[in-house]
Every structure is written in C-alpha cells, then in structure tokens.
C-alpha cells in the first residue's frame, strides 16, 4: 500500500460528502455528509503521519483524535439545533427554514 492509495480513498470520501451537502434536502443527511468530510480529513492526517514522518512521530494521529472529538461536539450541537428547528417549523428541510429570508 502506498500513500496514494489512502489519499485516493480520502478524496473519494471528501467528494461524496460535498455531494451530499450540496444536494440533500434533509438536515440529517447533510450532517452525514459533513461526517464523511471529517472522516476523510482524519484519514489524511493518519496517512501522512504514517508515510511522511519518522515512525516514532505520531503527532498526526493525535491531531486526528482531536478531529474526532471536534466531530462529536459538532454533531451534538448540530442535532440540538435540528431539534429546535423541528419544534419551531415542524420540518427539517433546510429550504423551508427561511424566516430570515429578505
């Protein structure tokens, strides 16, 4: 396995996440797309840490762990906002939440 194998997998995951964020009509599906993007970033950190630094240097893995922690915090706040929006609008389709639209 080379570094490029991991980078290609990560690029595909990132692209699929972007596609989900752009086309999905449900806030939870968008959250899933964001999770895919964050996973691809963490995979890149771990892959670069393995291939580009000496083996005893595992800083990239620690950055990836911090990334997982941030993803968990982000998911919690995202779902809290979704619940509040659902209670207010009765729907979580982002194009129907347009109170601020001018």
């Amino acid at each position: 396995m080379t570094l490029q194998h991991y980078l290609v997998i990560s690029a595909i995951l990132f692209t699929l996440g972007i596609f989900a964020v752009l086309t999905r009509r449900n806030a939870i599906s968008i959250l899933m797309g964001i999770e895919l993007i964050l996973n691809s970033c963490n995979l890149n950190f771990a892959a670069f840490s393995r291939f580009m630094t000496p083996p005893e240097d595992i800083s990239g893995q620690i950055i990836a762990i911090f990334g997982i922690v941030l993803a968990a915090a982000e998911a919690a706040v995202f779902l809290a906002i979704i619940l509040a929006i659902y209670r207010e609008f009765g729907s979580i389709r982002p194009n129907e939440v347009d109170t601020l639209k001018g």
Binding site: Q4, G33, L36, L43, R50, P55, I58, A64, F66, A73
Partner: protein
Amino acid sequence: MEFTLKTFIFYGFALMTVASALIVVTVRNIVHAAFSLMVTLFGVAGLYVFLQADFLAATQVIVYVGGILVLILFGVMMTSERFDMPIQVKGHIERGQLLLGGVIALALLMLLLTVIANTPAWKNLTDDGTELPPTTERIGELILNGPFLLPFEVVSVLLLVALIGAALISRKEVRD
C-alpha cells in the same frame, strides 16, 4: 506490488468504505443511509488499523459508531414527519441542483486526483510492512505530559461548552 492476503484485505476495506459512502449519499431512505454510514465508519477504522494507528481505530469505533451514529439515529426518530409513513427524504431533489452538485463534486474529485497523482513528494512512499509498537502509551505521554497538553485542555473546555450549549438549545422552552 505482489498480491498477498494483506493487500486483498486492504482493498476489501477500501471497497467497503467507498461503496457504503456512495450508498449514504444516494439512497432515499434516511435510516438506510445511517446504517450505511456505520459500514463506512467501520471501513475507515479498518484503514486506520492498516496505518498502524490502533488507538485511533478504537477511538473511531467507540466515538463514531457508538456515539455519533446513535445520535444521528436518535435525531432521525425525533424529527420524522409522520410516524405511520416510512421515514424518507420527501420532496424530490430538483434536477438542476442534482446536476450542479454532481458537476461540482466531479470537478473537485478530478482536481484532487490530479494533485495526488502529480505531487512529487508523495510518490513512491510504500508501506514497508515493519510492525510498530502500540501507540496508546505514546499518545498518553504526548497528550498528558507533552506538547499536546494545552490543546487537550482547550478541547475539554470546548466539549463542556458544546454539551451545555446542546442541552440549552434543545430543551423545551419554559413559559411562565
């Protein structure tokens, strides 16, 4: 590269990750998408194992599969629009939006693949197969007694803030 059992398993994990991610972004039923996301997350954990990041793989399974995925399913159940109907993404996606999103995503993929294929510093970096010692002890050293102590504390404060914020946003409003 000779075709060994290890490469076979690697390609299995890679295929599992990519195929299930494709299902996540295309399937209409959101519960199916969530379970497919679980397969994707397991696949990424397997790739971490191939990168000899054992602690990272365990964290991935515990936090993502055990935490975030349950949270997502919980959100799906709390916000389903009708209980007697299958939970689906209603309102068909506009064709133009789908087309535009597909074009942007494909262009981005082409750009990324071109960069990956043409960056000289990333070429010919092969996994030599040497087995590294487990990383858990060194990660503990680096986080609690090393250069990552301050980021660790900042992240813990951030988690507390996110916890309180999430509880505050999602609670029922008390009217008096």
